[in-house]
């Protein structure tokens, strides 16, 4: 289950990554395995041809893997780096569905970004973490948590 952060943490607690494109291109790309294939197919409708190449969804041409969408990169960042928090402001609804279904990972946004298909998440607040298991309850927490 993922953990949701509404407030920025001090860098000593956990690193927040805002620039998901850059972090993916520089670090996450070297961690990819077969789990990435399904996520790239699901979000970008592209096939991962090798660790560093995909096929274009539009014309089938082989492209460097840096051409996957920012949202797809964010989902992969969250999956492969459970020790960091990733800003999800650039994620489309299709990416949120994937991220909320991940077994672990950490996301940050200062306004509600929720998948309709969410099951349960942990939320991080001043008193620690707690579990929330409904869309409406999570939305309410996100809007009112100070």
């Amino acid at each position: 289950m993922i953990t949701v952060y509404k407030k920025k943490l001090s860098s000593r607690t956990m690193e927040l990554v805002v620039m998901n494109d850059i972090y993916f291109n520089q670090y996450t790309v070297s961690l990819l395995d077969d789990r990435a294939k399904e996520i790239i197919r699901q979000i970008d409708h592209s096939d991962m041809l090798s660790p560093f190449s995909i096929s274009s969804r539009f014309d089938g041409m082989a492209l460097n893997i840096d051409k996957i969408s920012t949202g797809c990169k964010t989902a992969l960042n969250v999956l492969y780096n459970p020790d960091k928090v990733f800003d999800v402001r650039e994620c489309g609804d299709n990416v949120l569905d994937v991220i909320y279904a991940l077994p672990e990972g950490n996301i940050y946004c200062d306004y509600p970004l929720i998948s309709f298909e969410m099951d349960e998440v942990m939320v991080y607040e001043n008193k620690g973490k707690r579990k929330i298991d409904s869309y409406e309850a999570l939305k309410d927490w996100w809007i009112h948590e100070d």
Binding site: M19, F58, G71, C91, Y111, K139, I143
Partner: protein, 159 residues
């Protein structure tokens, strides 16, 4: 707040087997939609167009540390195309863009908060392939649930 485009009401370009044809109906157009639909791909084609059209200026996450905000505020008669807008635009820049009558904007992002947009100013990409050419156009967004959430959250925060 609906303002007619002050610079261009249509933007067209070609890039190998890709064609872009955007009809622009408002001075600020927000392009939203699922990840992986080609928004940043289209942005790269428009960057290429901007290289030979001085009216168009493009910014994305690579410009985060550059002076894009002051460049926008100094500009007159430009069409700014901004990818990664949710990262690049803070509240003050959103207010500036919403009230700027001298320049025009195409924003690629998801968060309409502070831009004073009508629902019909929020668009999505549409792509169709014909004779080997993939053509990108704009269509009205079907108002994803998360956009409604942004607006509700923004309204509550401001009240």
């Amino acid at each position: 707040m609906k303002i007619k485009p002050v610079v261009l009401d249509r933007i067209q370009t070609m890039h190998t087997s890709y064609k872009v044809d955007f009809i622009l109906e408002a001075n600020v157009t927000l392009i939203v939609g699922d990840s992986g639909t080609g928004k940043s791909t289209v942005f790269s084609f428009l960057q290429e167009l901007a290289a030979e059209n001085r009216t168009i200026k493009c910014y994305n996450y690579l410009d985060k540390k550059t002076g894009y905000k002051s460049a926008i505020k100094r500009a007159n008669g430009k069409l700014f195309i901004i990818d990664n807008a949710d990262i690049l635009l803070d509240d003050a820049m959103r207010w500036y863009i919403a009230t700027d009558g001298k320049n025009q904007y195409i924003l690629i992002g998801r968060n309409p908060t502070g831009l004073m947009l009508n629902q019909e100013d929020i668009m999505e990409l549409s792509s169709e392939k014909h004779n080997g050419i993939t053509k990108f156009t704009l269509k009205y967004s079907m108002s994803s649930y998360n956009i409604i959430d942004y607006v509700e959250a923004g309204n509550e925060a401001q009240s």
